[in-house]
Every structure is written in C-alpha cells, then in structure tokens.
Amino acid sequence: MPRPLPALPETRSETAFGDFKLPLAPSEAVAEANRCLFCHDAPCIAACPTAIDIPQFIRKIATGNLRGSARTILESNILGMTCARVCPVEVLCVGACVYNHLDQPPIAIGRLQRHATDAAFDAGWSFFRPGPDSGFRVALIGGGPASLAAAHRLRRCGHACTILEAKGTLGGLNSTGIAPYKLRVDRSIEEVDWVLAIGGIEVRTGVRVGEDVSLADLERDFDAVFVGVGLGADSRLGVPGEDLDGVHGATAWIEQMKLGAVELSGIARAVVVGGGNTAIDGVRELLGLGVPAVTMLYRGDRSRMSGYRHEWEAALAEGAGAEWGAVPIACEGCRRVETIRCVRLDASRNAIPGSDFELDADLVLVAIGQSRLGAMLAAMDGLRVEGGRIAVDPHGFAGRGKWFAGGDCVNGGREVVNAVAEGDRAAQAIDAMLRGGAKGGSSDA
C-alpha cells in the first residue's frame, strides 16, 4: 500500500511551535487520574460526540493499565490521539466535569487521553483486526477524519474500503488545518498510518470525484459510498483589492504554513478577518510566528463571535488585538496590500455612514468561512443538498440507495470529534444495510 503522503519538507513553518498544552508526566497523570470521581452515567461521556467511556479510561491510567486505557479510547474514537490534542474539551468533556460545580478544577481529560494514546502510539500497540471478508466494497470520498473513522469501522466489519482523496495528503484538516501548537502534520500522518495499518483500505490520492471518476461510476462499482469531502475553498470578501499580494484565504495560508513555509519577513502588522475559530487560529499562528501586531477584525461584538471563549482568551494572552463591529470594504496598496479600509456597523449590521477607517496591514487573512461542496452531489437524484450541506438522517444516510455522508460536508464545519462520530455512525449504518441486504438506509431510518 502506498504511503498516503509524500515526505514532508524538513523546514516547515509549523515546526516553530511547541505544544500549547503540555503532556502530563507519568506521575502527574496518575495523580490526576486518581482525582476522577468515576461518575455514574458520567456527564463527560454524554458531552463527547464519540461517547468515549472517559471514567473507565481514566481509572485504567490510575491502575497502570495504559494499554487498556488506550483501547477504551480508541474503541470509541479511532482518532482519539488527535482528538486528545485538538478537541475543545473546555466546552465538551471537561466543561461537563462535575468538578466544575465543586470548588476544584475539572479533570484534565484531554491531557489524560493524550497520555494514554501517546503511550499506545509510542509502544506501537494495535488493538483491532479486520472482520472476516464480507465481499462488499465501500468507496469513501475524501480522506479526512470522517472517512478514516468510517473506513476503520467498515474494515472491522469485514468490508473492503477505497478512499478517494483529491489532495496528495490524507488526514484532511488534521494534516492541513489544525493549529500547530495543538497538532503538527507529522503526528497526523503517523495517525493516518496507524489507522490504515488495519489493512484492506485502498488509498487513491490525487483523484477528483466528478472529474477523474464519476459519481455514477462509484455507484456502479461499489456496494456503498460514503461522502466525507469536508469543505471547499476559503470564502472571499468580495471587496476591491482582494487580489493584492498579501491577502490570503485563511485555510489556504494555514495549509501552506503547515505543509511548507510561509514568508513573513518584514510583516509588521497583520489583520485577520472573521470571528470564528479559524480566525482565532490565524491570529495565534501569526503571533507565534513573530508578527508583532495582529488584529482580529470582526463584524459583531465579542459576545457574538463563534470562536470559543477559551481560544480567544488564549489569543489575548498572546497579544492579540481586536476591532469589533466593523467589516472591510477594500484592500488598498500598490501590488501588495498596505491598508485595509473598514466601516463600522450598527446593531443591525448596517454600515454606519462616515464611519470609515483604515487599518495598516502588510498581511490579511480572510477567515469568513469556506465554500460548501454539496453541489457536486446535486447531479444524483435523491441526494438532498440544503444550503450546500448534504442532508442526512440520524444514521448518516443521504437519501439515495447506497449513499451516506458525514463530517464537515454534512455539519457545515464542526470539530474533528464530530467528523469521527459521524463517520463511525455512517459505517455502522452501512454495515447494517449490507448485512441486511437492503439497499438504502438503515433498518430504522
């Protein structure tokens, strides 16, 4: 089986970053694990999209059963190593910890999960075997977290899998988009290799579905198809000057920073447009790479931003600036951007006449969303696309015969852990469909 990635360049910009959240030392992990109350029907499990049995894996750390701990995690979430680093635990499991209601800090669940899963990776433990060959073949469009989770579950059920990935890189945003102070691309690739090690997952990179292979071909050649294509290109501002040098779509710039190098010499002031988590990532990455002044420009106020509060507070601590209630109306400069012209908005988000102002900016990242790829499926009768998202039932069934979907292309752009949960869920529905001999949907869909 070919490696899913060409060798990574030695000098990647992301290697400038260390871990924002440090790993636990072994004695620290045991002490923290011993604090866990082992709640009944634990709220942390309910808060985890993949429903990891968190008290159980923590108890196993406390008893020195690290192998069992990692197995508990990975049984529910095959990308548990990544999720330990990138999950917004503050609003998921850790946010649900009952210690938040007591005068004690909540359990450091993410760091404990990292402790166990890193141990598994470092020791090379493998836990899962493919099921007996079922004779069924499943195609997975896109090689990100949703498809990886789905493919792994399908292999455990004995179905042959083929992943079709447009890029040269597997792992999706885990490889190209995660802030490097949480996860660097080499670690993502290790995890991809670890997932693929179950065997029986054919990987075809550089294949664009709709161009190199048609949807009809897939429907003909496979017994089921899972769509996990994620999101498309960065949305554009639609203002004059947007094509000047120095104005970048945020996810494109982040991908370049992670897989290669970005040129920041001479950049003194940067502006990141947007108020979501990608915008905050961009701010923190620019600050971390040494840009002296980085300002987030957001149309709403702080209470309206979709980025997590804990992420923004970390950005503030690292020196971020902000302009609230304003939008760009032009990028200005001679060949290269020099300023960004903005206008303030009133409470109804209408431009306030005469409120124009300028921000100096040698670099602009546009983080106002990404295009949705549902349109590529519109050609297939029965597949429903709503606002660019693929509409699915609670099992990930997309409405036509053998078609299922999950991840950002369904949910519009959420966390890695949501993509894993949706991929896993769809794989179980696909398995039920194939074993039931029914074409289309799971039994109770």
Binding site: L37, H40, V98
Partner: protein, 425 residues
C-alpha cells in the same frame, strides 16, 4: 489554655503524644530531636539481646494513589549495642527531664529481665513497656507476640517485671488474638499499671507481581511482617474501646495504631486512651507533625469546654455497645440537598450496585431522587458523595418506641419493631 498533661499509669508527660517504640526512637539523637519538636514522651526502641536485621525491611500499601496509607515492617528490636542504648537514654533523660521516657524491653529469662530493668531505671526510665506484641522474627524465638498470645505467660513475665521494677510497668499487647480482653486482664493480674495497644498486625503487605515475590523483598523472598499506619486505626480503636469498657479491667491505656494527627488522637482518647503513641506517620513525615497535634488538641479541648485532657478521656466509651443493644426502631433516610449536589451520581451507582436500589436518576436533572419508602438509611450514599454535607441522614419520626434486639427477643409484645424497609416488596 487547656492543660494537655497526662498520666498513664503513673507515667506523666506534658502532652499525650508519645513516640512508639520503633525506628523513630532508635537513638538518643533522634529522641532528643523529637523532644525538641515537642513530643511529650518516647518509648525507646525495644531493648533485648541485639539481633541482625534484613534488607529491605519496610513495605508500603498504596491506596488510590496515597502511598503509605498502610505500612508494614519486618524489622526486629534494637540492633545497636545495649551499652550505647543505656548511655543515650541517660543523656536524653538528663537533657529533657520533663518528658516521659519509657524503655521497651523484650528478654527471655527472669535474670535477663531483672538485669535490664535495673539498668533501664538506672538510665532514668520513667516507665517500662513490655513488648509482648512483635508478630515477626521474635515470636518464633518465643518472645514478642508468642508471649502476648498466651495469657498465662503474659501474666508470669509481667509479674517478674513488676517485681523487679521501681517505676510503672505497662504491657504492650498484640492485636493478633481473637479477643483482646483476656490479654489485658492477664497483664493486670501480673501487676501492670497500664497497657498499650495495638502492636502491629500480622500481615503480608503485597506481592511484586512481575517477580512473583512478596514484599518487602529480601532477595528472592519475603516474610510476614507487622501492619500499621493510617489503615489500621479502626482495628486499634476497637481493641482500645473493648478494654476501656470492660468493667473488670480499669487500667490506663496508651493508644497505638494509625494515629496520624490530633483528630485520630482525640478519637483514641474519647475511647479511653490516656496517651497515644505514634510511629508510622513520623516515619513518613518526620517529628514535625507534633506541632499540629498539640495545636489541634488545644483547640479541640477549648471548643468543647474541656479544661484538661483528662476531662475528655473515655467520653465515648459508654456509647460503644453490643449490636444487640442498639435501637432497631431508630430510622434514618438519605436526603440529597439539590443546591449542593454536583450531579456525579456516585450515590446512584453505589446504591444500585452496593446497597438497596433506592436512589434513582431523574429526568431533566442530574440530581438523583431517593425512594424514601425503600431507603434503609445505610449511609453508603453519604460515604461516596464527594460534596461535604450534600447528603444527610435524617431521622424519621414515628410512633414505635425504641427497642433493641435483646429487648425484642426477650419480650416481643412490649418491644415491637417498626415495619421492615428495603425488601422491595
């Protein structure tokens, strides 16, 4: 300021905190440092015919990440020359005349006892403690717990010591017996002025699961030792209380076994101990723990209006009863304070899996519900609840008058029992 001074069978000390006969009292420099730290007395590491020790000697019991929650040792009595011991005892008693110096002894023959009792008293001992408790190494040679487990031998050797001694003799009892009372009475018949208990509990602290060797590991093998430390306190409290309430006993008691702080000490004294002895907690943390013990005890006495330690000794003894004397009609049920509940539902798991299936989750809230018709008031939920005063055991008022099992069996008609609960139909 309350008076902390105590008198245990004629052995007086400025406070009730003594170091037990053990490694912390192995030498003059150690005991002098302990006295500087504030300890009221010390029982010198047992003198006897010097022995040889093994390496290693101690084992720790880790419980829920707490290291040393229990502890054991396979060390024997002093391995230092007796001359050195007597010289250092004399030096220490000269430097700290106000502290209680008790010399622990373990010998075989009557003549040996005579000689070493005399030498101990010459060195300045305020009292003698007879080591009839050591459960390893010495008992196989006919000493230690081999003496303490045979009331007749205990009585005979105690009577020798009393005959030879001009200072009070107390007997240190072994817990490795089915009932402590006959052994305390044997010491009394022998003429002892008091007893101290418990010595360590015969134990095997653990197993090295990779080498397949019990611990503490001496090369490729180990042996049984003496269990002590915080974990043994409940066993010690029971034995102290059993002697304290025995009408025919009546001797002062020096309480030993899992005393780690002033709270533990108060519990021992409320159950009848005049002084307490500490070893393991000092081995784990050093002599400095006595400062908090003194402060804490003073504050406790002041809070309860006791002018002296002696006023509190034995206060809980009358409330230590036989099971058959307890009121079967006393009814409590668990109440959960929803304002304090953090929703961990450990009480649900505990009640369902380990008790009487009467605490249930509810729709729309993490706060569980108590089925009061089924709750037997067992306390398990309150024990597992991590929140202070969230679950309380509340008295249920009813018309049935108190009745103990003994009373009910004697006359059911005049001592009826309330309806039974917790049988689920």
């Amino acid at each position: 300021m309350p008076d902390l001074s105590t008198d245990t069978g004629g052995i007086r000390s400025p406070n009730p905190f003594w170091l037990a006969s053990a490694p912390p009292t192995n030498s003059g420099l150690q005991v002098q440092r302990a006295f500087e730290a504030g300890w009221g007395g010390a029982v010198w590491k047992t003198l006897g015919t010097p022995i040889r020790n093994v390496s290693s000697r101690f084992g720790g019991h880790t419980i829920g990440g707490v290291r040393g929650a229990g502890f054991n040792n396979i060390e024997l009595i002093t391995d230092r020359p007796l001359e050195a011991n007597y010289r250092e005892i004399a030096e220490t008693t000269r430097l700290f005349p106000d502290r209680a110096m008790i010399v622990s002894l373990m010998f075989e023959t009557r003549e040996e006892w005579r000689e070493h009792i005399a030498r101990s008293i010459d060195a300045g001992a305020d009292g003698l403690e007879l080591n009839f408790g050591c459960p390893h190494g010495m008992c196989e040679r006919g000493m230690g717990s081999a003496v303490g487990q045979e009331p007749a031998v205990n009585e005979r050797i105690t009577s020798w010591a009393v005959e030879f001694s001009t200072v009070p003799v107390i007997v240190k009892l072994t817990p490795n017996v089915s009932d402590i009372v006959p052994h305390g009475l044997a010491a009394k018949r022998g003429g002892a002025r008091g007893v101290s208990l418990i010595n360590t509990i015969k134990s095997l602290i653990g197993v090295d699961i990779d080498r397949f060797v019990p611990e503490p590991r001496v090369g490729g093998a180990s042996t049984n030792g003496g269990y002590c430390g915080a974990a043994v306190k409940p066993i010690a409290l029971h034995m102290v209380a059993a002697l304290a309430r025995e009408q025919s006993f009546g001797l002062p008691i020096s309480g030993i076994g899992g005393v780690t702080n002033w709270r533990d000490a108060v519990e021992f004294m409320l159950l009848g101990a005049s002084s307490v002895q500490v070893c393991t907690e000092v081995m784990l943390r050093g002599y400095g723990i006595v400062e908090d013990m003194i402060d804490g005890l003073e504050a406790y006495l002041a809070t309860h209006g006791f002018a002296s330690v002696s006023e509190m000794i034995g206060k809980a003894v009358p409330n230590f009863r036989e099971w058959g004397e307890l009121d079967l009609n006393h009814e409590t049920i668990a109440k959960i304070d929803p304002a304090k509940c953090i929703g961990c539902q450990r009480c649900v798991a505990a009640c369902h899996d380990g008790a009487h299936q009467c605490i249930h989750p509810q729709e729309g809230t993490r706060v569980p519900r108590v089925d009061e018709d089924e709750c037997v008031g067992c306390n398990l939920c309150q024990i597992v609840c991590p929140v202070t005063e969230c679950i309380s055991m509340e008295r249920v008022e009813h018309a049935v008058p108190p009745a103990s099992w003994n009373e009910h069996v004697a006359d059911p008609s005049t001592h009826p029992l309330r309806p039974k609960k917790g049988s689920h139909g």
